[in-house]
Structures are given as C-alpha cells and as structure tokens.
Symmetry: C2
Subunit: 178 residues, 2 copies
C-alpha cells in the first residue's frame, strides 16, 4: 500500500470539513461498510470523533460488540460507491465484493481499511454512554493513514437525498485558530 | 427580514454537509458570536445537533447559563468575517459592531440571528451531560429560517489553520437514503 502514516495531531484537518465517510467494521470474520455523515471532531489530540450510527444499521451491532472501526474518507470519484453502500444493508450483501472495494489490513484494529479511500483512520470506541439514547459513540483515532499522492483531495458533503456538494476552490485566510 | 420559515424536517440538509457555522448567544443583554466547525446532526426530527464548544470560549459560559443559542450558516462571501470572529474573544470585543454583522431578533430564543447568514437555526440546549467531560452539548432546533433568494448557497468547510474548502459543483445520485 502506498499510504503513509499521518501524525494524529493532523487528523482534525481531514474530518473537521465534514466529508461523507465510509465506516468499516469486522465481526466474526465478516467485514462491512456503511456510509456516514453524522460525525464531529471532539478533541485534537488524541483525536476524538463523535459519530451517530443508526441502530437499524448492521454496523451498529458490530461497533457495539467489537468496539473498533475504521473511518475511511472517499473523494468525489467514489461517489457512486458511497451511495451504493448507503442503499443496501450488510446483512444481505458483501459490499466489498458487490461494489469492488479493496479491503486492506489495518495496523491496530480488526476492521479493514478501504484501499480506494485517500485517508483511513483506525478507531477504538472510548465512550458508549450516549449510544442507548442517541446512537452516539465517542471514538479515539489510534492510527491514521493518508495517500501522499493525493495533493488536493475533493471530498463530498451530503445535502440529503443523494445530493452532494463537491469541494471546489480553496481559500486561505490569516487565522489564529487551529 | 426577507427570510422564510424552514420546516424543521429539512434542517439536516443544511448541517449534514459540515459547514462552518457562527453561533450566537446572548447573556445579560450582551450578544456574542463564535465560529464553530465541530458539530453533527444527531436526529432528523425534532432536529438534534451535537456541538463541541471549548470551555475557553466566552460563548461556552453563555450557553451553559442561558441554554439557548442560534446556529447561523454563512456562505463563502462572509469568510473573512467568519475568521475574524474566530480570532478574537467576545470578552474584549463586541463582534457585531467590530465586524459589521447585523443582529436580528429571533422568534423563540434571546440570542440574535445574524442577518447576513443565509440560514439561522434557533436552538435550545436539551442535554448537557457531556459538557463537563467533552464540552459537548446536544441542541434541539426549535425554529429555522432560510433566505429563499439564495438558490445555491456555497458554504465553507474548515481544513484547519484558516484554510477552507468552498462548495463547488453539485452531484445528484439515486439514493434511498434520507
């Protein structure tokens, strides 16, 4: 794999813009993928990520049981596969096979990385206290990978009902904010 | 004000893409604005929004005390003001005055709407159990406003250190997902 390790202090720069992500899990040797937009950074370092995963999802049970997952960040070229993964359940379909996604081994968790995504964040569940009421999990990113060849990754942002905004131009302003 | 009421069922379509927002609060007759990117939808209807607000921020205390705020969504034209609001503290500066932002009265909360933002979401804090550990608040949107003249609002997405991705093209794919 051509990916390189990304310092954990830089993880917020990937998730703070709010891209659609693909979350992978693995349970009893069976890997699954789900599409997710309801996430937020919660701490810079160690990077904490809050995410809401419907308890109707097959991945919800895997996350609760294994306490591990990978957040994979796709670029616009993968939009069709992102939507396809959101349209079916892992209960019935092996999404890696059906949508030709490549599972690569992670370093710290059992869930696989999606090779086609430009960044992969290996995560452990560190707080599930709000899972019962809000389906909300707090994840800690324990290992991060990035494709050094993707210089300006254009991520996608879900506006509902299959409509996505693709990253356009970039602006840079003097800022004291991290 | 030319804004119209937006059905609460549509609120997720504005926040799910992960735009930078400006959160307004009011305490003892004094309004303040802060820039925020760490938020996520948590429920469709009534719309619940989770957000992380540093306890070093002047707005944190106002939110804890008043249990109300407004999430205002700016477009790219306002990027300079968004960054300016993030660079100074409301302890020292009246940001509405300093950055020429127009405060408009809200319908359900004391915090003001920012007239220049294309959408405004009036919120009440419904759960602050995770405020002590994570500075995390669960907000319920109780009233939403949108500018009907802004047909394709281009929001901004913070990549850290004053770098923003501006919404570019839009893609639409057949999706069963809400």
């Amino acid at each position: 794999m051509r990916k390189r390790s990304l310092p954990l202090s830089q993880v917020y720069r990937l998730l703070e813009p709010g891209p659609v992500v693909m979350v992978t899990s693995a349970r009893a040797g069976r890997a699954n993928v789900m599409t997710l937009s309801w996430h937020t950074m919660m701490e810079f370092e160690p990077p904490l990520v809050g995410c809401v995963m419907s308890d109707r999802n097959f991945s919800f049970a895997a996350l609760k049981a294994t306490k591990e997952c990978v957040i994979n960040i796709p670029t616009a070229e993968l939009a069709k596969k992102v939507v396809a993964c959101g349209n079916v359940s892992g209960r019935r379909v092996d999404k890696f096979k059906a949508f030709r996604l490549t599972a690569a081994p992670a370093a710290r968790v059992a869930a696989p990385l999606i090779a086609e995504c430009y960044a992969n964040l290996e995560c452990e569940v560190v707080d599930a206290r709000m899972a019962a009421k809000y389906n909300f999990f707090v994840l800690e990113v324990v290992k991060a990978w990035i494709d050094p060849e993707k210089k300006n990754p254009r991520t996608i942002h879900h506006r509902g009902r299959g409509v996505f905004a693709v990253d356009g131009r970039t602006i840079k302003l003097p800022s004291r904010v991290k």
